[in-house]
């Protein structure tokens, strides 16, 4: 493995870890549901960064397809979970404040 590939992996994976930490921090500190949801999505983006970084094998060699498949399905699950959470939040708001 060349240094250039390693550098790209560390840069991309490092940003992923940074995103996870930022999301985790925001999730723990902020109370509103919407901010927590955005925080979870930022964390998810960080996880996808790390998976894509692990899959990277340089420009010439094809990337590891297993983490790529995980990311693809992960994105769809993240979207649907967010939609469900938003629907829950909307319903909670309606119940808290009738009319």
């Amino acid at each position: 493995m060349t240094n250039q590939v390693l550098f790209a992996q560390l840069l991309y994976g490092g940003s992923g870890i940074l995103l996870i930490l930022l999301g985790l921090w925001s999730f723990l500190v902020h109370a509103p549901l919407l901010r927590k949801l955005i925080a979870i999505n930022v964390m998810g983006a960080g996880v996808f960064h790390i998976l894509v970084a692990i899959a990277y094998r340089g420009i010439e060699t094809p990337p590891d397809p297993v983490p790529h498949a995980l990311v693809l399905t992960g994105i769809v699950v993240a979207v649907s979970a967010t939609a469900l959470a938003l629907a829950f939040g909307k319903r909670l708001d309606q119940d808290a404040d009738p009319g």
Partner: protein, 227 residues
């Protein structure tokens, strides 16, 4: 004022988590790779019926995972529908937006078809194509089309369940003829994958657009048809 938990404890904990994550990630990319799944997966791509490694992992080697993925989508939509009906929706769009949507939605549907087909040998596939269809639905909803262009509720129910249904039925039929659950016979694999992906694309697109509406679609204002 400094709140000890929020300003000291959480940042310290996060720094510790970050150091641990960074260290394990560094070891993961620099250390001995050992026996990786990538080599096995890439070696078996020619047997999988498609030449795109990611599609062969998603629809063949780890087809179980993708089946459950579709079930997750369906479950999320059922959860959303159980919370009540959708909001009234947006105002009908002005002519510029309406014209743009009228141009873009067919293009999105066309690109979704291309994505679905190209997924066999290049980046693409059911999830990307479904996301494009979902985006077309969101665009229609934003432009004030009632129910994002989705069919009436009865047909919509069939549509969102289509992916799981075709996937699971294919798996069970393969079991009946003597192969394992979702173990595609050589030669047929390509067509089975294409069929499952087509059903999954329609289901994913419809599910995403329906999830965007945020509830059971209201009855159609003109026809009174529950849409």
């Amino acid at each position: 004022m400094i709140r000890p938990v929020e300003h000291i404890l959480i940042p310290l904990g996060l720094i510790a988590v970050g150091a641990l994550l960074g260290w394990s990630f560094f070891l993961a990319v620099t250390g001995e790779a050992g026996e990786r799944l990538a080599a096995v997966a890439l070696a078996h791509v020619p047997d999988s019926g498609v030449s795109n490694p990611v599609t062969s992992v998603l629809l063949n080697f780890r087809a179980y995972d993708t089946l459950l993925e579709l079930a997750v989508l369906l479950t999320a939509l059922l959860g959303i529908w159980s919370l009540g009906s959708a909001d009234a929706g947006f105002q009908p769009a002005a002519s510029v937006l309406e014209g743009m949507v009228a141009g873009f939605v067919p293009l999105l549907i066309l690109s979704a078809g291309y994505m679905l087909w190209v997924g066999a040998y290049a980046p693409g596939g059911a999830f990307q194509a479904g996301a494009l269809l979902g985006a077309a639905g969101v665009m229609l909803a934003l432009a004030g089309h009632p129910n994002a262009g989705l069919p009436s509720e009865g047909r919509l129910r069939l549509l969102v369940a289509l992916g799981v249904f075709v996937f699971a039925t294919t798996g069970l039929l393969l079991m009946v003829v003597g192969d394992g659950f979702l173990t595609y016979p050589a030669g047929l694999a390509k067509w089975l994958i294409l069929m499952i992906e087509t059903a999954a694309t329609l289901a994913i697109g419809a599910t995403l657009a329906a999830a965007y509406l945020g509830g059971i679609p209201a009855a159609h204002p003109k026809t009174g048809e529950t849409a």
